[in-house]
């Protein structure tokens, strides 16, 4: 085709300042279409396109179908579950389940409590993990590798292993025996026991902290265990966040900071004014993980909140008393109620996800994550 064009010199038909209209012989349309669509390359492309589409749509269906059934089931009345003709579209449309969950299971209270807890811990975790990861990625100091190993160690140990001692440590919270010492628990020196009623004497803590025992403070049923763990970068999956952020910071060129140092900026200032703005997509990714995993977490909430005083999202899953039934479809109906609770728990998360999801991939893509 090209050779032909070169042979027959194109005739200049019309020439203006910007455009030149040239006439040359083109291959007929039929030939061109043939070359384009009847080649093996094109057939392969179409087959691959179809295969890919079917696969992706199929797996999307697998991911979305359970959510769809949850939503469909949540609008159904108990009668629908014994009706064989009713499957995915409710016949007796009702909002009873939503109403009951909202009023009887304290949904709103749970929502505000969980929002407070998740937002605060997620912000703290994101910032602390950024700090630790930056320190690990960009500074060569003795013990760097050791600290990184410790991070991995905290990720590898399953939290169920630490279940009992986590509870005990926060039930009787004490660091190095300080509280015990301050509260008259006594400390033994050279065989003598020195008692100290310091805390009792000054009485600085409000009533919410009255549960002092001789073995430390009771922090269970408060947000403190989560906040303390977040402040140290030890909360749920924080090792993973630190690992991800570390890889990201390693991808940031050193020259950026060096030029800032030469301009006289300190280490902290460089971090805050130069590095942090760069890493916003990655930070949003980590925030999204931290927020949503804390939101749905049932391990720590069940462990640290032993009473029903503080209602949190994962604890509202249950059967509202007005909906109890001995009906034939009881099993399915209760399952639908539990799933409705699930929908209501994740509904706020869906909103957050819709806003953050484009950063999720972007943040990861820019991280240049490598394993070396």
């Amino acid at each position: 085709m090209n050779a032909q064009n070169i042979d027959n010199k194109p005739k200049v038909q019309k020439e203006t300042k910007n455009k030149i209209k040239v006439e040359f012989e083109r291959t007929p349309l039929k030939e061109r279409l043939k070359a384009k669509f009847l080649s093996m390359f094109f057939v392969k492309k179409v087959v691959w396109f179809l295969f890919r589409l079917v696969l992706l749509v199929g797996i999307s269906y697998i991911v979305l179908f359970p959510f769809f059934t949850k939503i469909a089931g949540s609008f159904m009345a108990p009668e629908d579950f014994v009706d064989v003709t009713v499957r995915l579209i409710p016949k007796n449309f009702t909002l009873d389940i939503y109403k009951a969950v909202w009023t009887e299971l304290n949904y709103f209270e749970a929502f505000t409590n969980t929002l407070l807890l998740s937002a605060s811990t997620a912000v703290i975790q994101t910032l602390i993990c950024c700090f630790v990861a930056y320190g690990l990625a960009k500074f060569k100091f003795k013990g760097n590798k050791f600290v990184f190993l410790a991070v991995i160690f905290s990720l590898v140990i399953p939290h169920q292993t630490l279940q009992l001692s986590l509870f005990m440590n926060f039930r009787y919270f004490d660091i190095l025996g300080i509280f015990q010492f301050l509260n008259g628990g006594g400390i033994s020196l050279f065989g003598k026991t020195i008692t100290n009623d310091f805390l009792a004497a000054i009485d600085i803590f409000p009533d919410t902290w009255e549960k002092f025992t001789t073995s430390g403070i009771t922090l269970t049923n408060t947000y403190w265990p989560m906040i303390i763990l977040s402040l140290c970068g030890l909360a749920f999956k924080n090792g993973l966040y630190i690992f991800m952020l570390r890889q990201f910071f390693r991808g940031v060129p050193d020259e950026l900071e060096e030029s800032a140092y030469i301009d006289g900026s300190g280490i902290i200032r460089t971090f805050i004014t130069i590095i942090l703005p760069l890493s916003i997509p990655m930070m949003i990714t980590v925030f999204l993980f931290a927020f949503s995993w804390q939101w749905t977490d049932d391990f720590y909430t069940n462990l640290f909140f032993t009473t029903t005083k503080t209602v949190l999202m994962p604890k509202i899953v249950g059967i509202p008393s007005s909906l109890t039934t001995d009906y034939a479809g009881q099993n399915l109906y209760y399952s639908a109620i539990r799933n409705t609770c699930g929908i209501m728990i994740i509904a706020p998360l869906v909103v957050v996800y819709l806003f953050c999801q484009k950063y999720l991939v972007q943040g990861i893509e820019r991280s240049g994550l490598t394993a070396d």
Partner: protein
């Protein structure tokens, strides 16, 4: 440098005041990791050590608000291994499913990552859908899903329903179909059941491979397009490109993901051993027993991780950047 300074006797008062950049940077490094180090030493290590210690004790909560520890030696371990009827069998079946799931998750997430990395219409939508499970199907949702009979029920096209939610026709494929498919080929029964299980388990596998997909995607993004261009010019097919370029370049990610998948699948709530340990924790006097069980489980899994990481790292290809 310092010698020259001393010889020419140029006074450098500033030098004394501020340490060298390297020194300052080393100090800065400690400053950044300080929160973690403090927390690790003061809070985490005591918790870990206590957890090991508790597994050798019985705990009695004293009325005054304290607790009492009664040392019992190896009794908890003894009870877990030899007295408790279910622990060893649960452990074995848990490890068995681990061996089944991990290759499946790795293969699936790599495949999906390669697919989602290609340029196509609606890529953003598919990515958004595929990462939904990472965000939404964790924690409490996982436990709801574990006893969910609704989606099985809804998924059936028809059938007589007794209202119990259990049904026989809920599996997507049965071994029969696959066997028909494989009957011409001389593959063993094991492979047939493996494939059947994988397909019936697909929801589970999709749900659990979200983070792995993200990590693989990041790895794929970091491969330089210039390499692909040059092999294309050399006339490599897509198949060759995958095995000769993509696979070696992504192999460090495979190691990371293998380790992450092992950790993730044995700490997740839906793991049978973890469920069993949690149940034991709730029982009377089960808290110390569950500690002992969890530590034994942890040791086994650490050994598995070490072995797999050791084997895989022999095959990992690291690109020299410098």
């Amino acid at each position: 440098m310092t010698k020259d300074v001393a010889q020419t006797k140029v006074k450098a008062p500033k030098r004394k005041k501020s340490a060298s950049l390297d020194r300052r940077k080393a100090r800065g490094g400690w400053l950044f990791v300080l929160p973690f180090v403090i927390g690790f030493v003061l809070i985490y290590l005591p918790i870990v050590i206590d957890s090991i210690r508790y597994s050798f004790y019985q705990i009695k909560v004293v009325a005054g608000g304290g607790y009492q520890l009664i040392p019992v030696g190896w009794a908890n371990y003894n009870e877990a291994l030899f007295v408790n009827p279910d622990y060893v069998t649960t452990l074995l079946s848990g490890l068995q499913s681990l061996a089944f799931d991990i290759p499946m998750i790795l293969i699936f997430s790599l495949f999906m990552a390669v697919l989602l990395n290609q340029k196509m219409a609606g890529r953003a939508v598919f990515r958004a859908i595929f990462f939904i499970p990472v965000i939404l199907s964790t924690g409490i949702m996982e436990s709801i899903e574990a006893q969910n009979v609704l989606s099985d029920y809804m998924g059936e096209a028809s059938g007589i329903e007794d209202g119990s939610g259990e049904s026989t026709a809920s599996e997507i494929v049965s071994a029969m179909d696959i066997e028909k498919l494989f009957s011409g080929m001389a593959v063993g029964e094991g492979l047939v059941t493996y494939v059947t299980n994988a397909i019936n388990n697909i929801y589970n596998i999709v749900n659990r491979s979200g983070v792995q997909m993200l990590i693989f995607l990041a790895g794929l993004q970091s491969i330089s397009p210039a390499i692909y261009e040059s092999v294309q010019i050399d006339g490599a097919t897509a198949w060759e490109t995958f095995w000769k370029i993509t696979f070696p370049m992504i192999s460090p990610m495979i190691l990371v993901n293998a380790v992450y998948t092992i950790i993730d699948s044995f700490t997740t709530d839906s793991n049978v051993v973890m469920t069993f340990i949690s149940e034991t924790y709730q029982k009377a006097n089960g808290n110390v027993l569950s500690s002992a069980m969890a530590w034994m489980y942890f040791l086994i899994v650490i050994l598995i991780i070490a072995a797999i990481a050791g084997i895989l790292s022999a095959f990992v290809f690291y690109q020299r950047r410098d």
